[in-house]
């Protein structure tokens, strides 16, 4: 799956339906996380390398961490 920031940076005329649905799904997910108490969940700033590494590690270990 493409990273949200990579998708947003892409020319929208090249977006497939799946790309846009991914953006919507990611944004919905961040709203749920925000409502659950993560006040930074909706941040659209690109993730740092460190955050990406932690996320990758969390995926590998099957942990649920909202960054």
């Amino acid at each position: 799956m493409s990273d949200l920031h990579e998708l947003m940076a892409r020319d929208p005329l090249t977006h497939t339906r799946e790309d846009i649905e991914t953006i919507i799904a990611e944004m919905r997910k961040s709203r749920h996380a925000f409502n659950a108490g993560n006040l930074r969940a909706g941040s659209t700033k690109p993730k740092t390398e460190k955050q990406k590494q932690v996320e990758k590690l969390a995926d590998t270990l099957d942990l649920k961490i909202d960054l």
Partner: protein, 347 residues
């Protein structure tokens, strides 16, 4: 410079929207700079652009729903549209936005007696005759929170909260058309026309309202909503809803969105207008309009120096602080004279 439709042949404004009424109420000198002379910042205000894309997306969502499209599909359509609208494409460098090349004439070789004939125009292949470059880039906002990504987030989050289970339903007009995205031009007294654009007319708890979308960086409190009474835009909307559409509109539902770095938060507020308030607003507004028309006729636009510091300071404060003889030079350095704001041009 082309004369906007809202001005008569002698340059006097007869078509008035809430933007121009507010200018006339606020300061006649500012009214002159913006409405008569057409001075404007080189780039559209980030707040204006963000607000326009946001309002358009929600208007179109309600239109899709009223036409029978389901929620998820309507969300998909407006997000797609917003992504495309916020991708800035320059004009084609090859055809300079014309979409065609070789607009030349030449002698017909086979029959010189026929004189000059127009050579066929070649569609520009670089831009596929669109005049717009295939290249482009996402809208780069210079604001820390009113960004393209946060716009998309705000649209999606708003529709998550108010889309499916909205207590406000779109009002269907007597001709069967959903009351969404309606521009109005309403002739009133003395040859004046009130004009504007309503995002949506909705029904809440059995009563009709105009619905309007606002965005802000601040926390939304009751005080925020109290700021809309008195308010020319909200009175104008209620007046137009009542008179232009013949509907007993009670006021305006304001859906306000707080845009922050990590979230978008929404609050719904109401501002009501009773008949007597609207009558008073009408009389006062007609007075301000007449004053602005008189100022234009006499070319005398006095400043209202008491309003220079309002709302964080007037955008022209720096200009007005200069001696009259040098203001034009400072205006040319900081502003452009683009197409003038025309209240009678429908959105």
């Amino acid at each position: 410079m082309t004369q906007p439709k809202a001005f008569d042949a002698s340059g006097i404004q007869f078509g008035w929207d809430s933007t121009s009424i507010k200018l006339a109420e606020e300061c006649l000198y500012k009214y002159k700079l913006k409405m008569i002379d057409g001075w404007q910042p080189e780039t559209l205000s980030v707040h204006l652009r963000f607000g326009q894309h946001y309002a358009t997306a929600l208007e179109h969502y309600h239109k899709h729903i009223a036409l029978g499209i389901d929620h998820d599909e309507a969300v998909y359509l407006v997000v797609k549209e917003a992504l495309e609208d916020t991708w800035d494409r320059p004009i084609c460098k090859e055809c300079q936005g014309e979409g065609q090349l070789d607009i030349t004439t030449e002698f017909a070789e086979e029959n010189p007696w026929a004189g000059r004939v127009d050579k066929a125009v070649t569609p520009c292949e670089t831009c596929n005759a669109t005049g717009i470059s295939a290249e482009g880039a996402p809208w780069e906002s210079d604001h820390n929170v009113k960004t393209r990504a946060n716009l998309i987030r705000t649209i999606i989050w708003y529709l998550e909260q108010f889309g499916k289970d909205d207590a406000v339903s779109t009002l269907i007009l007597s001709d069967g058309v959903p009351a969404v995205e309606h521009s109005f031009a309403l002739p009133v007294d003395n040859g004046i026309v009130f004009a504007g654009h309503l995002d949506r007319l909705g029904v809440y708890a059995g009563d009709p309202y105009v619905q309007d979308q606002k965005t802000t960086g601040a926390t939304i409190t009751q005080r925020y909503f109290e700021g809309f009474n008195p308010d020319t835009q909200m009175s104008m909307y209620t007046f137009a809803g009542k008179v232009a559409y013949g509907i007993p509109v009670k006021g305006v539902i304001i859906d306000a969105a707080q845009i922050a770095v990590g979230f978008s938060r929404f609050e719904r507020g109401f501002t009501f207008r009773v008949e007597a308030q609207l009558n008073e607003w009408y009389d006062h507004t007609m007075y301000h309009i007449e004053v602005a028309r008189k100022a234009t006729r006499e070319n005398f636009f006095p400043m209202n120096r008491s309003s220079c510091g309002n709302y964080g300071g007037c955008e022209f404060r720096d200009i007005c602080s200069r001696a009259p003889s040098v203001r034009e030079q400072f205006l040319k350095a900081k502003y452009i004279r683009g197409p003038r704001w025309d209240p009678l041009t429908p959105r």
